[in-house]
């Protein structure tokens, strides 16, 4: 029971942290470099504990993110839904990819996410963003191994402490 609780703490803590990182500012010069933290963390949990992260969870989390950032309600829901669906569909393969290959898969996911954003903005009549828009996924790809190893290590430690 205790173990479940620590697991849950790591899970909810990492998602809260992702929300805060998403809002935390960067210096103006490198502002476009910010990766989509929320998606990265959510993808990790979808790969590792898919019983927690379903489509409904992604949908709700997206709504919360939209309320926080005050854009179009439902935009991030759609983005996270598409992402989590692909991850869950290919989960059994993604899990056993070596880390390099996994990282490339993440890049593809994040690029796909950008295309979804462009579609939503196109339909809602927003102006198209600048070229810097496409840098985010690359930074997200670079950040992925660190997030993956960090969270994996954290969970492994907790498990070791229990036994």
């Amino acid at each position: 029971m205790n173990r479940r609780r620590t697991q849950f703490l790591i899970f909810s803590g990492s998602i809260l942290l992702a929300f805060l990182l998403q809002l935390t500012p960067l210096p103006q010069a490198i502002i476009v470099l910010k990766p989509y933290w929320l998606a990265l963390v959510l993808v990790y949990w979808a790969i590792e504990t898919p019983d927690r992260v379903g489509l409904g969870f992604a949908f709700l989390l997206g709504l919360v993110a939209d309320v926080l950032t005050g854009q179009l309600l439902g935009e991030q829901s759609l983005r996270l839904l598409v992402m989590i669906f692909i991850v869950l569909r290919f989960r059994s393969r993604l899990r056993f990819f070596p880390i390099g290959q996994q990282t490339l898969a993440i890049l593809a996911l994040l690029l796909n996410d950008r295309i979804v954003v462009l579609m939503v903005r196109g339909f809602s009549g927003d102006p198209m963003p600048s070229m810097g828009f496409w840098i985010g996924p690359v930074i997200g790809m670079i950040a992925w191994p660190f997030i993956f190893l960090l969270l994996d290590d954290l969970r492994a430690r907790m498990r070791a402490k229990e036994t």
Binding site: L23, Q28, I31, V67, L68, G74, L78, L88, D126, P129
Partner: protein, 311 residues
């Protein structure tokens, strides 16, 4: 539970999640988006959730606050002395200008009384601080630490010491969101100060550029010309600096000259901003004037800001 039972999961099976659920959720997301786009319910929802949203903003701004405090703590004394001297000089200069201005205001007031003008342009301002968070790098919005409880309303112009920064687009109880003049969806009516030519400056999405895409090709616009607000459109009062022309060239069609300007306000640096309280052109009949106990020369300065000017 989205998982099928373990014995059914294979590496290449459809298994894990069903497409039907995806389609249901996607439809739901799309319906929400369309409804929100048409009706703008998000602002109401954000207002209802402001008890969570606002603390989240404060927490997210904390790292940069800490960094700022740290930088201040390790700043050398000579640096601070320098800064202090510069500020003193700037204050002196501003004070001198202000003294001249108050003489002019008094004169203007007298002249206006002669002309029987009812309304005067009292300049009520309110100070607010930026909360340093980033809602979306591709939309130029900033969050301010004053909201409807501090009587902020949508549409108020936001200024800094150097010029116009933008306008309030959304108000929560204790915070508000302002759109900067460089946001791609923002446009501001401007006037070239030297010649009086009126045009519109659009945001470009990059923080140090404005564009003026429809200047007549024969118009007299030069590099270095200052742009000020023209006061048309009734949102920004006239005469505040907006930017400086950096470049003038022909647009693709050859029908117009396209100019690029640099915003006057320090959009990426300002910590404190001013919110203008009086919208420039009050609509409708003037409010009944309260009985004045003593006749002062400056009614604009003696009124509490924002109390007497709005019906």
């Amino acid at each position: 539970m989205p998982l099928a039972s373990p014995d059914k999961v294979s590496l290449f099976a459809e298994g894990a999640v069903s497409t039907l659920r995806l389609i249901a959720y996607l439809t739901m997301a799309m319906i929400i988006m369309v409804i929100d786009h048409r009706g703008g319910y998000l602002i109401g929802l954000r207002n209802a959730a402001s008890a969570i949203v606002e603390p989240a903003y404060r927490v997210a701004a904390m790292p940069s606050e800490v960094a700022k405090a740290g930088r201040l703590a390790i700043a050398t004394q000579s640096h601070l002395v320098d800064e202090n001297r510069n500020l003193r000089e700037a204050l002196l200069l501003a004070q001198a200008r202000l003294n001249r201005m108050s003489a002019l205001v008094a004169q203007n007031d007298r002249l206006k009384k002669l002309l029987d003008v009812q309304k005067d342009l009292g300049l009520g301002v309110q100070l607010a601080r930026l909360i340093d968070i980033d809602l979306d790098p591709f939309r130029h919005r900033v969050v301010l630490d004053a909201g409807s409880q501090q009587s902020i309303v949508v549409g108020q112009p936001v200024l800094d010491a150097h010029g116009v920064m933008g306008q309030i687009v959304e108000v929560l109880p204790n915070t508000s969101v302002a759109m900067l003049v460089t946001d791609p969806t923002h446009a501001i009516p401007v006037m070239v100060e030297r010649t009086g030519l009126r045009t519109i400056a659009y945001g470009t999405g990059s923080i140090d550029r404005l564009q003026l895409p429809n200047v007549p090709i024969s118009a007299d616009v030069k590099v270095g010309d200052l742009l000020v607000t023209s006061g048309l459109g009734g949102r920004f009062p006239a005469g505040f600096p907006v930017g400086e022309i950096l470049d003038v060239s022909n647009d693709e069609s050859g029908m117009f000259a396209a100019a690029i300007a640099r915003p006057a306000a320090a959009l990426d640096r300002s910590g404190e901003v001013l919110l203008l309280q009086d919208l420039p052109q009050p609509m409708g009949p003037p409010a009944p004037t309260p009985v004045q106990s003593e006749a002062t020369g400056l009614p604009a300065a003696s009124d509490p800001p924002g109390s007497g000017n709005r019906p």
